[in-house]
């Protein structure tokens, strides 16, 4: 069964009490919340995701709920709870769904050491993965959303999971997080994609999420071999330009963006070396998504 098969009422009840066992890629999350923002967010963004059996195993048990404090009457807040503890400070109630997203990212990045986890977006074409590691503000999520709306398959927006045995990217197709100006950029560029309501004044400015395409969610068990490593940089008005990057620099960049590179020691080093060896590495400047997508369609055709 998938989330879309539940009525709004059923989804609400399930999230309220036993919790919704939601599969995202290799991970099963048991999510509990009574907050309308969370119910709506899950309904919109996770519509195609499988609901797992309640008698099974959940990797992470999370809850988004108001903290117990007198503040709830003045300025309502929400807290992300993991296994009964709150690893983060509460946020304003309007950010409930964004908080769920950040919390679920944290669950994966701090526990799933069966993977080498890189802070990168990744997309796939003809079985090959394009990795976009980048600092916040580099335009990686915008580029990722743009590519995904034009036929690339979404592997992951935030956390690229590299299988330690094969070096392949294991998909974690979850909502793509869009910030500030890129929210409208994607609405204009990809009118067919569903973008949720933006929330304002978060630590990252205004944030909205784009629902992952149905096809990406359905193919979440199909891993992809890394083929291109691209460091994106958005610059207003810049022409799209792809510049080759040395393997050494690409390696250091990936290692820098890995959450658990230190955890894997020598194995992590060798895995990244293998990923770099099988990939073409570039720096990419762009100012318009239209041109950016054309550039990547072109390198995918030549692969």
């Amino acid at each position: 069964m998938i989330v879309a098969h539940l009525s709004h009422q059923e989804l609400m009840h399930r999230l309220a009490r036993p919790g919704l066992r939601l599969r995202t890629g290799p991970v099963v999350n048991r999510i509990q919340s009574r907050l309308a923002k969370v119910v709506h967010g899950v309904e919109l963004h996770y519509a195609d995701c499988t609901i797992e059996d309640s008698e099974g195993f959940a990797d992470f048990h999370v809850r988004v709920a108001p903290p117990r404090s007198p503040r709830r009457w003045i300025a309502p807040q929400v807290q992300f709870q993991f296994d009964g503890a709150g690893p983060f400070l509460p946020l304003p109630a309007s950010q409930a769904f964004a908080m769920l997203e950040w919390g679920l990212n944290w669950c994966v990045s701090s526990h799933c050491h069966q993977y080498l986890i890189v802070h990168a977006a990744s997309v796939e074409r003809s079985g090959f993965a394009l990795l976009l590691p980048g600092h916040p503000g580099s335009g990686k999520s915008t580029l990722c959303a743009g590519l995904v709306s034009r036929g690339w398959r979404l592997l992951s927006d935030e956390l690229t999971l590299l299988d330690l045995a094969t070096g392949h990217v294991v998909p974690l197709p979850r909502p793509v997080s869009l910030k500030n100006a890129s929210i409208d950029v994607i609405r204009r560029f990809s009118p067919g994609m569903e973008v949720g309501p933006p929330v304002h004044d978060t630590v990252k400015g205004s944030v909205a999420h784009m629902r992952p395409p149905t096809d990406s969610v359905r193919r979440a068990t199909e891993a992809a071999r890394p083929r291109w490593i691209v460091l994106p940089r958005y610059e207003a008005g810049a022409a799209a330009s792809l510049t080759p990057l040395s393997r050494a620099r690409a390696f250091m960049h990936l290692a820098d963006h890995a959450f658990n590179y230190d955890v894997h020691g020598r194995q992590g080093f060798e895995l990244l070396a293998q990923v770099i060896d099988s990939s073409d590495c570039f720096e990419f400047h762009y100012g318009a998504l239209e041109h950016a997508v054309a550039v990547f369609d072109d390198i995918a055709r030549r692969a």
């Binding site: 008698e55 195993f57 990797d59 296994d83 009964g84 503890a85 526990h111 230190d262 894997h264 020691g265």
Partner: protein, 355 residues
């Protein structure tokens, strides 16, 4: 029985658990910082392959993380050793780092949060200066924090290395200056032992290591790690049991160090919860630290509740944790000082919220 305790006491029995049972075990083990311990208990008996794949990835991930942490602690100890080499001050490693460097089983699968060392009180200033020269800086910055640690505590304010972001606690005693029990640090330092292959590093003598672990468990306000601390203690007791002289020395030493009460509780709960094998005469001798019956009844209720956090969200368990937090502070400071300290902490929390 608590699922984690069950898994540690009888790993073979948990292999056939149902998926919901695995679910509960992994969550509880994670919450008590014992997931790597459970993973290694299964791994050592060759049972990991029999665990269903969904929980197994978490056990394997925890094992990977524990190995990486052990390597990181070894490296960090080497840095500390180098930083203090010129000072000529012997460094006595405490707790996790000591277990690891001394090659004790208690280090296996242990989750580390910081490194603790013990130095003579008179050497504190030169140790701090030498560490600052190599990049350690105090993380606590307010004047009150500085005064709190330096006047009343048994350690410097926690030091953090500016580039590696690692934490180091430099102790001059194992209990605060203001605490009611007053174990003499000079005796601990004098009895400390060298570590093979490490010319400057030392660890506490086995009996002292056990007594420190017991003290930490039953006088510390950090009750979230109580089960982990009890597992440490169990592991130390099982390992040292084969050493000649260990058991007779233990109770004698507890008297010398004014730690008969923590030892009594430690042995009591190790036997009750983890089934630690302790010779009857030792338990009998440890009775000198026994509290009055009413207090013992209360402590049993509190500790058995927090050490068996089956339902940690329960109000009762949270009340027990709260009571132990207050108790730990009560043991650390005289009442007036305690009232003052808790008031300042509460006011500061409000300030932080407002800010």
């Amino acid at each position: 029985m608590h699922p984690v305790v069950h898994a540690l006491r009888d790993p073979a029995a948990v292999v056939s658990s149902s998926l919901p049972q695995w679910d509960a075990l992994v969550r509880q083990a994670r919450r008590t910082n014992l997931l790597p311990c459970v993973a290694l208990a299964l791994d050592e008996r060759g049972l990991l392959p029999q665990v269903p794949p969904a929980p197994r990835v978490h056990l394997e991930a925890a094992r990977t993380l524990a190995r990486a942490q052990a390597d990181a602690v070894r490296r960090e100890v080497a840095y500390i050793d180098r930083a203090l080499a010129a000072s000529g001050i012997p460094i006595v490693l405490l707790k996790g780092a000591a277990y690891l460097i001394a090659g004790l089983r208690a280090a296996r699968g242990r989750v580390f949060s910081d490194i603790d060392i013990l130095v003579p009180r008179g050497a504190l200033a030169s140790v701090e200066a030498a560490l600052m020269l190599r990049g350690w800086a105090t993380g606590k910055t307010t004047a009150y924090d500085q005064r709190y640690y330096r006047r009343w505590m048994h350690e410097l304010p926690p030091l953090r290395h500016i580039s590696r972001q690692t934490w180091l606690d430099v102790h001059h005693a194992i209990l605060p200056i203001t605490a009611r029990l007053k174990p003499d640090s000079a005796k601990l330092l004098a009895a400390s032992l060298p570590v093979a292959g490490e010319p400057r590093l030392r660890v506490l003598a086995p009996v002292d290591m056990v007594l420190h672990s017991a003290t930490h468990l039953f006088c510390n306000e950090d009750v979230g790690n109580s089960l982990r601390d009890l597992v440490d203690l169990d592991s130390l007791l099982r390992e040292f049991a084969s050493e000649e002289d260990f058991w007779p020395r233990l109770t004698v030493r507890a008297r010398e160090l004014d730690l008969t009460r923590p030892l009594y509780y430690a042995l009591r709960y190790a036997v009750r919860i983890l089934g630690t094998p302790i010779p009857a005469p030792v338990l009998h001798e440890a009775e000198i630290g026994r509290p009055p019956p009413l207090l013992r009844g209360l402590m049993d209720a509190l500790f058995l509740q927090t050490l068996q956090p089956d339902r940690t969200t329960d109000r009762l368990a949270s009340l027990a944790r709260g009571s132990l937090y207050v108790r730990a502070h009560w043991l650390r400071m005289p009442p007036l000082l305690l009232a003052q300290h808790l008031t300042i902490k509460a006011l500061r929390r409000e300030e932080q919220k407002a800010g």
